[in-house]
Amino acid sequence: MEATDRDLTTATPEHATPAHGAADAGVVVHGLGMRKRPSNWSRLLRNGKARLGAGLLIVIVLSAIAAPLISPHDPAKQNVRDKLAPPAWQSGGSWDHPLGTDQLGRDMLSRILYGGRVSLLVALFATIAASILGIVLGVLAGYFGGYTDAVIMRIVDVQMAFPSILLALAVMVMLGPSFRNLIIVLAVSSWVFFSRVIRADVLVIRHREFVTAGEAIGATNGRLIVRYIFPNLVGVITVVATLTIARVVISEASLSFLGLGIQPPTSSWGLMLSEGRQYLSVAWWITTFPGIVLMATVIGVNLLGDALRDILDPQLSHEG
């Protein structure tokens, strides 16, 4: 059977150029007399996984952004008379609190909307910080090799020898829980994923002809890295960043769940799950709804990440 594990078998005539399915999917091939491949954008728009993932994310992100406009209540407002009210469709529930209320009578829907802002912002900042750290160290290790590489990779090894959640917990205790520290901790426990993948890519790209050519015409190291190598990393960075966001959303929730992430009265999905834990037997909705939204977010990000990986960097597909 001639099956490849890539999704290009549904080739339209446009797809059937010699460049298709090559490992170089992210590399521009102009001037070689080939017909132009459809742009990555249009391939992304035609990808079912990408559309589903992006759709989910757009809904979640927009509702988090619009939280002040669409929340039915103040997320922090306590109302003891209404505490532990079930969702609207259960007996005893009312449409005033569509998803019910928590142990302090706070509106679940509003808290989920506002909690999303915190969870998503933490994930975004932590991923950006992790990617900067990981890219710089990964490029340095791959480009310069030798001692630089050895030192950086040993740091990676040390980091990998800690269970990441434990390291994060320990650092949080030392630094004290706060929004900023949470981002630092999450970034520190995620940069290795960037640096490992990027180092491996740089090792290959470093010895391509166009880099050698650049060297031959006297380009400096800085120029070679920024102008020659970096543009070829954009695909893999996008993919790893997307998948890291998903991982970070879960890590933040886990840390908040263990009491060392976001601190009350601010709320995140993970903290809501944690708070609802004591009320499992009387109020299933406190843990169920934030959990569902959290899961939908991660599924959305992962779907999009998978689609991006198929399109931008088919080689990564095999690493699961």
Binding site: A161, A246, S254, L280
Partner: protein, 305 residues
């Protein structure tokens, strides 16, 4: 081979050295390690006494060397939470964590091996699709939420399984399944893609061409070649479970090393945190070494040197 083992041991020692640097640095970050070691109830006199006894006023390099030598003797100090030698506390909890880890591994393999093979062999079939959905859903599910849902359904709603604690097989069942299924998603995906690679290889075509039964082709020709990534992943999983069952152990109040570490962290019990951290790092290093060495056994083509 011997040379490789020695090389890897050196590498391991180097990494442990790095771990010690990080933990030392972390202790320094907390401010006064004497205060941290004695806990919140200590009087200033007690703290000063310990500072002098432990030499916390010495130059930092001297302190670090002393710290290293105490680690080498597995002397992390006394846990103020339990008022016991920290490392022995960790060692006491190892059996519980080990039990959970093995049980979770069994669940993972029982689930992922058949599913991974099947979804590769019957690619794009119903099974393949269902397994893809399982993998996706599972990856998105934080393990603590899976645990909470399990408790909600099986303990609170149906009352079939105990929600927490250790003792009987019933206690083990839910944590093991939650933890096992969690990593089963990754293993399934990995085995599927390894099998897909192998199934297209020439030797599999040859095996088919000479008329072997499909069962033999898949199990003795294809699967054996797809095992390497699975062994790596299982080794990594074992190591990370030994250390990373932190959350599962907390959710189910499982009395293992992970839960002990969380308790220690929440109570700022520095000696205990250090002892647990070193135990984890050591476990991960040893397991990774064993995994690397096992390649040669599974696939004679792999020469470790």
């Amino acid at each position: 081979m011997q040379r490789y083992i020695i090389q890897r041991l050196f590498h391991g020692i180097f990494v442990l050295f790095g771990v010690s640097l990080v933990t030392f640095f972390l202790i320094q970050l907390t401010g006064d390690p004497a205060a941290a070691m004695l806990g919140p109830d200590a009087t200033p006199d007690e703290i000063q006494e310990l500072r002098e006894r432990r030499g916390y006023d010495d130059p930092i390099v001297v302190q670090y060397v002393r710290y290293l030598s105490s680690i080498a003797r597995a002397d992390f100090g006394t846990s103020h939470l339990y008022n016991q030698e920290a490392f022995s506390l960790v060692v006491e909890r190892v059996p519980a964590t080990f039990e959970l880890t093995i049980a979770a591994l069994v669940v993972t393999l029982l689930f992922s091996v058949p599913l991974g093979i099947w979804s590769a062999v019957k690619r794009d079939s119903m099974i393949d699709r269902l397994s893809a959905i399982f993998v996706f859903g599972n990856q998105a599910m934080p393990v603590f939420w899976a645990g909470i849902l399990g408790i909600m359904i099986f303990s609170i709603k149906f009352g079939w399984l105990p929600a927490s604690g250790r003792g009987s097989l019933k206690h083990l069942l839910m944590p093991a399944i939650v933890l096992g299924l969690h990593s089963a998603a990754y293993q399934t995906r990995l085995l599927r893609s390894a099998m897909l690679d192998v199934l297209n290889a020439d030797f599999v075509r040859t095996a088919r061409a000479k008329g072997l039964r499909e069962f033999v082709v898949i199990n003795s020709h294809a699967l054996r070649n797809a095992l390497i990534p699975l062994v790596t992943a299982t080794g990594i999983q074992f190591a990370s479970l030994m250390g990373g069952a932190v959350i599962t152990e907390t959710v189910f109040a499982w009395p293992g090393v992970g839960r002990l570490a969380v308790q220690a962290i929440n109570n700022r019990d520095i000696p205990l945190v250090m002892a647990a951290t070193f135990f984890f790092a050591l476990t991960i290093l040893v397991v990774n070494l064993l995994v690397d060495l096992s390649y040669g056994l599974i696939d004679p083509r792999v020469r470790v040197d």
